[in-house]
Amino acid sequence: EAGVAQSPRYKIIEKRQSVAFWCNPISGHATLYWYQQILGQGPKLLIQFQNNGVVDDSQLPKDRFSAERLKGVDSTLKIQPAKLEDSAVYLCASSLRRGTSVNLYQETQYFGPGTRLLVL
């Protein structure tokens, strides 16, 4: 079974530029998450999708970050314009969960390798 795919793996941009990250979850996984991991910290949730709808985006800096998941499969996360403090690894994760399932097995999140962003 293929894992969560992310691209690009590395990106260097200058501040005020824009950047986009792509994530392809495990096939059949309804729920998709984007996390931001700043150096020396644990991942922090930015946004959660279930199918193509947003479940939680309370931690997403909406003035500069946006995300979409068209057709309920792939997702893109965009930053425009980027700031120095956006330098981090952006992780995508997916889980099987659909609706209000109480099958705990379905709640395990599987992570992709991440995109490492450096803003200069």
């Binding site: 910290q41 644990g42 991942p43 994760a93 705990l104």
Partner: protein, 114 residues
Amino acid sequence: AQSVTQPDIHITVSEGASLELRCNYSYGATPYLFWYVQSPGQGLQLLLKYFSGDTLVQGIKGFEAEFKRSQSSFNLRKPSVHWSDAAEYFCAVARGPNDYKLSFGAGTTVTVRA
């Protein structure tokens, strides 16, 4: 909101020695608890998880963790460390049920010396 504390930023252990990583959580009810490992340049891999039942949980790669409600802890252990266990380890908590958003600790870096 729930929070996770990993008191040890960095641990060095000799190959073949035992390893214990500490994790404390702050949450009123019994949360769902996870341990993930992250090797350099890699994503996070799930080692084990606790939802309910037996408080001693077995995971992959020879790891186990014990949930202690009285101490609000979920410490990770391995009896004999291999050089390949050098990585960063993250404890995470989800409130559940129906809320599976993960809150992560800051992580513990494990160095294995020969």
